[in-house]
Symmetry: C2
Subunit: 140 residues, 2 copies
DNA sequence: CTTGACTTTGTACTTATTTTAAATTATATT
DNA sequence: AATATAATTTAAAATAAGTACAAAGTCAAG
């Protein structure tokens, strides 16, 4: 708790109980959760929590570059605690989103074709290694 | 019209009037339109058109790899006629989505970190060259 | 023609997100 | 400590995007 209180305080975000809890959740769960996932998980411990608060808090966190928004899927918006820039892999079999340790050539550049780059999102889709292995076993 | 009828026929999609019109629109407007944009534009010429038809048609086109879905923005789903793989730039100033002529190192590879790649989407965000120029002029 | 499969249409429904306003909590002032 | 002020949280209502489904329309094959 103290750790997250500190992080919020340093960024100039008033460290309320709800905000601390949401930040803690994001730090401890690198599952790229949706608003609902965060809400459902925290509601158990904080039954007064409102979904609006989750929306508001994530908006604030985003404004202060504490979280990033992933639109890798068409139907969901997912959030992640920013640690360092990386790309993502979405497995259409199991639905998991996996952090990739690849960086783009343009990650260090400021520009592409005259446009000023402020952020880059690389979304890879396909079948993850785990699901590939399972399929292999099934065929032998 | 004949051109699009042909394209649909070749892919095994029954070339109905609505489908031809939607495909024609996508080919002639590389603006990465939303469902609403497509609907609004075509409604003028085809007043009986239903929005459900636009959704259905785009789903079919996607299944047959005629169109690709962009989730570069959080609030909108945008569609584009597939010509060749490329990445996209979103300008937060003017809202335009610009095709980039850059290809990823992994574009030719089949794999990243053991996962099988089926598609790659590279989303760059920032300020486009046009808006940068405008801002420069304003400051001089 | 008539049949049957497919397509289109419009309405109703579901669900995610935003808005709004009241209630609560925290902070500052006297 | 009491009161005023501001910020935050909450719940409910409004909005909007997308989906499901049944009815009507289209069209080619027999």
């Amino acid at each position: 708790m103290e750790k997250y209180k500190q992080i919020l305080f340093e960024r100039g975000i008033k460290p309320t109980f709800q905000r601390i809890k949401i930040l803690e959740y994001l730090d401890k769960n690198h599952s790229h959760p949706t608003v609902d996932m965060i809400y459902a998980a925290l509601y158990k411990k904080v039954p007064t929590l409102s979904k609006t608060t989750v929306y508001n808090t994530l908006d604030i966190f985003r404004k202060y570059h504490l979280v990033d928004v992933l639109t890798i899927t068409e139907s969901e918006i997912r959030y992640e605690y920013i640690i360092q820039p990386h790309h993502h892999f979405y497995c259409r079999q199991c639905g998991k989103i996996i952090d990739l340790d690849v960086t783009c050539v343009y990650q260090e550049e400021m520009c592409v074709e005259g446009h000023r780059i402020e952020s880059i999102h690389g979304y890879f889709k396909g079948i993850c290694s785990e699901c590939l292995l399972k399929a292999e076993h099934a065929n032998s």
